[in-house]
Assembly symmetry: C2
Homo-oligomer: 152 residues x 2
Amino acid sequence: MDIDKLSTGTCAISRGLALVGDTWSALILRDAGRGMTQFDQFRVSLGIAPNILSRRLKSLTEAGVLERRRYSERPPRDEYVLTNAGVDFLPILAAIGEWGRTHNGDGVLGHIEDAHTGETVQAIVVDGRTGKRARPETWRVVMPMRQDDAGG
Amino acid sequence: MDIDKLSTGTCAISRGLALVGDTWSALILRDAGRGMTQFDQFRVSLGIAPNILSRRLKSLTEAGVLERRRYSERPPRDEYVLTNAGVDFLPILAAIGEWGRTHNGDGVLGHIEDAHTGETVQAIVVDGRTGKRARPETWRVVMPMRQDDAGG
């Protein structure tokens, strides 16, 4: 996967996936969304090898989805917090969760609640113009003319 | 990434990512969503190595997101079409597109139109209970008790 090509093509979906198109990266953002900030928190939560975690944190930081902050000088320790772009991605993860619940949801799964009301959040994708559920059957994808586009 | 573990944990997001947690897989679904069905169509669109494409088509088929159909006996030829689960994932891809447009959107990008009205579709994630934009700042993730959960 040529991330640079993905990130310069004319397809908006590719542009999004270029920033966070990887299962580990998505799960790191999920955990950041529930308050984790430290390397060891992610490592334990995900059961991920440290070198893979380092690489993903670096690429998410470079992509502008996480911000790296030094929270201790002695010993030197960094934490990773969601940027605005990262926070903006959480609803998409929640929508992936609803889709996973529907299509791969055997057993008891977690859910998201509104912290104020305690009500269960159900993340769905709508067309912002109409407020109605997105209906891909009626969609047509319109791409600008360009030859050097990686899958766009 | 242990897909089996991802697919049996208690996190709904993991359940979704287990079915389609890979950039190539997401782009294959995108292309299937704009009418592509044949191996060579995906291969040319994505510039993907044939062996990688074969593997991804196989795993998407096993995940129940694509269905493999024989459309010619001589020579033997299969095509891949979206299942209901696959169609259900397209709005999420569109939401990833809107996010990519917002946070990685330099230059001219494609968009999605309503085929009937020609209006631009803007895929956003809302809370289905309220119809309002999802606001992750107010969320609390509630996970069932379980010890053997991969990142859940």
